[in-house]
């Protein structure tokens, strides 16, 4: 009997999957990107055949790429395409053109001088503990249970 004894805690501990630093950072980044999102779901009208009044985004894009040498400034509304740049592209441009001197990049507030505060990922109250597996914060056993059942490793970034 004696040799069959084993610690459940140690056994579980060995099997436990732990997210490494990179995966945790990836999760964090994804969470921050979600805060900038305009919509959570896809366009509910995407399956609709657009009426004449509705904007035809994709179609305009296509004509732009297919119609080769277009006469400059001939058509009204081509500014929409010429100035169609993503934020990332604009930022890149700014980086190239405006290296020194105050710019969008330099104006960003630096990291805080105060230490971070931690809040329970489940209930939002101050938390004292960190989930061993994924690094999320929790405040009590009850919240840890909820966290493990719902988020911890359930969806991985």
């Amino acid at each position: 009997m004696a040799d069959k004894r084993e610690s459940v805690r140690i056994k579980d501990g060995q099997q436990m999957r732990i997210l490494d630093e990179a995966a945790r950072r990836r999760r964090q980044r994804k969470a921050l990107e979600a805060l900038e999102k305009d919509n959570f779901s896809e366009d509910p009208h995407a399956d609709l055949k657009m009426s004449k009044k509705a904007p035809k985004f994709e179609e305009v894009m296509e004509t732009a790429s297919t119609s080769g040498p277009k006469k400059k400034r001939k058509s009204r509304g081509d500014f929409k395409l010429r100035y169609r740049k993503s934020f990332a592209a604009l930022l890149e441009e700014e980086h190239m053109l405006n290296k020194d001197g105050p710019s969008y990049i330099t104006a960003c507030a630096p990291p805080s001088k105060f230490p971070d505060r931690h809040f329970c990922a489940v209930c939002g109250f101050p938390s004292a503990y960190t989930c061993v597996q994924c690094g999320a914060r929790y405040c009590c056993v009850k919240c840890l249970g909820t966290h493990q059942d719902t988020r911890c490793l359930k969806y991985t970034a």
Binding site: S41, S86, G124
Partner: protein, 404 residues
């Protein structure tokens, strides 16, 4: 000649003629409703929509910068049309606001659209805080001239802390905190969806809920402890009834329950507890969600460290708070409390929030359009046709203006 003022915010555009009493506040987006499949809603047309659940937003702005003209053109068309402002382009000068450090190509796009697409008579491009500073100075002129003004503008995409020497922004000391109303709403959506009810698609409803029940805490830890309490001792918890757009047209706080605490019938309810103040808290502690930046209060102190030491006390004593987030109850109190505790004891701290912090820059634009110097700060269509974008960047560039 009439002057149209367009405070082109990423969330809402504030537009109207200088002779109007109040601007029209128009959502700067095109909206699609899940349950209305026959049409789209451009800008203020959303008022015609009866069912505001699961709205899908097409926004012309990304991170506070105008990137999608496809959408912006539709909103502007609507705004200038006879349904809203009825603009006679040939007889109208326009003031358009843009963010600080707007990218040159976005600025050029604005010039081009204003002059070539709409054929406005003349254009002045500026920033909302610059206008706010102008009005603030002017209104206070009787109480002695103001040397420095610090404008804190907390809007939809981000918050800016802008120091002014007289009327000129000190570009190198501008501080931007990348937290605004959008981040708050999205964070609240995320938190509620995880803890209570899936509302990720209900941006409109949750934003309204945020405006109805969220507040900025002046005693964060104390409020946290109150929020832990059960029953009537918990003075923070609020039950918010969500609209269903058939019987309940608008979300609202349920009056204190006489019968138990359960929601009756079909109505859906969200219990707002620590969410009420921990969400707006992000403005002051972005690091709470992992945005490694200073909050607004700390940002003010950082900003003061970047200006000349003689100017700092003037700025500190003359802070103006604008933008939609200033409407959160407790915003100014918290800012004052934080700044007071961090600033030197020798300096006075003075803050003020205008009656309507959202439309303040627009009203400032009205005042500015009457300034004797205003015509000389505009670019006329004729000048634009002659000199192109160069003259615009000369006249509108923040850094090229010499201190007066």
């Amino acid at each position: 000649m009439a002057t149209l003022i367009l405070d082109n915010g990423a969330g809402t555009a504030k537009v109207g003629f200088s002779t109007d009493n109040e601007p029209r506040i128009i959502p700067n987006c095109v909206t699609k409703a899940k349950n209305v499949r026959t049409r789209i809603f451009i800008g203020d047309q959303i008022d015609e929509c009866k069912d505001l659940s699961s709205l899908y937003y097409l926004l012309p702005f990304q991170k506070g910068f105008l990137v999608n003209w496809e959408i912006e053109k539709q909103v502007w068309d609507r705004m200038f049309s006879k349904d809203v402002c009825q603009v006679d382009f040939n007889e109208t000068a326009i003031i358009v606001t843009e963010p600080f450090f707007n990218f040159p190509s976005v600025g050029e796009a604005i010039n081009e659209v204003i002059f070539e697409e709409y054929q406005f008579q003349s254009l002045h491009r500026t920033q909302a805080p610059t206008l706010s500073c102008y009005k603030h100075q002017k209104d206070k002129e009787t109480s002695g001239s103001l040397f420095g003004t610090l404008v804190v503008e907390s809007g939809y995409s981000f918050s800016h802390i802008v120091p002014f020497l007289k009327n000129k922004p000190l570009k190198e000391a501008i501080v931007r905190v990348n937290v605004g109303g959008k981040v708050l709403t999205n964070h609240l959506k995320e938190v509620i969806s995880y803890r209570q009810l899936m509302v990720m698609d209900e941006t409109y409803v949750i934003n309204q809920m945020k405006e109805d029940v969220c507040y900025v805490s002046t005693h964060f830890n104390k409020d946290m402890n109150i929020a832990r309490l059960k029953g009537p001792l918990n003075t923070i918890s609020r039950d918010y009834i969500l609209p269903d757009y058939t019987h309940i047209k608008r979300g609202h706080v349920r009056p204190p329950p006489q019968d138990g605490g359960k929601s009756k019938g079909d109505e859906q309810m969200i219990r707002m507890n620590n969410e009420r103040f921990s969400v707006p808290e992000l403005l002051f502690k972005p690091s709470d969600v992992g945005i490694q930046e200073m909050g607004i209060s700390e940002g003010i102190m950082h900003c003061l460290s970047l200006v000349e030491t003689e100017l700092a006390p003037h700025l500190l004593n003359n802070v103006v708070i604008t933008g939609g987030n200033a409407l959160l109850p407790g915003f100014q109190d918290r800012l004052y409390q934080d700044v007071r505790s961090m600033a030197s004891d020798d300096y006075d701290v003075g803050m003020s929030t205008p009656k309507n912090p959202i439309t303040y820059p627009w009203h400032a634009g009205c005042d500015f359009s009457l300034d004797p110097n205003f015509p000389s700060m505009c670019v006329s269509r004729h000048e634009y046709e002659e000199h192109g974008h160069n003259i615009c960047s000369q006249k509108f560039n923040v850094s090229s203006t010499s201190p007066s």
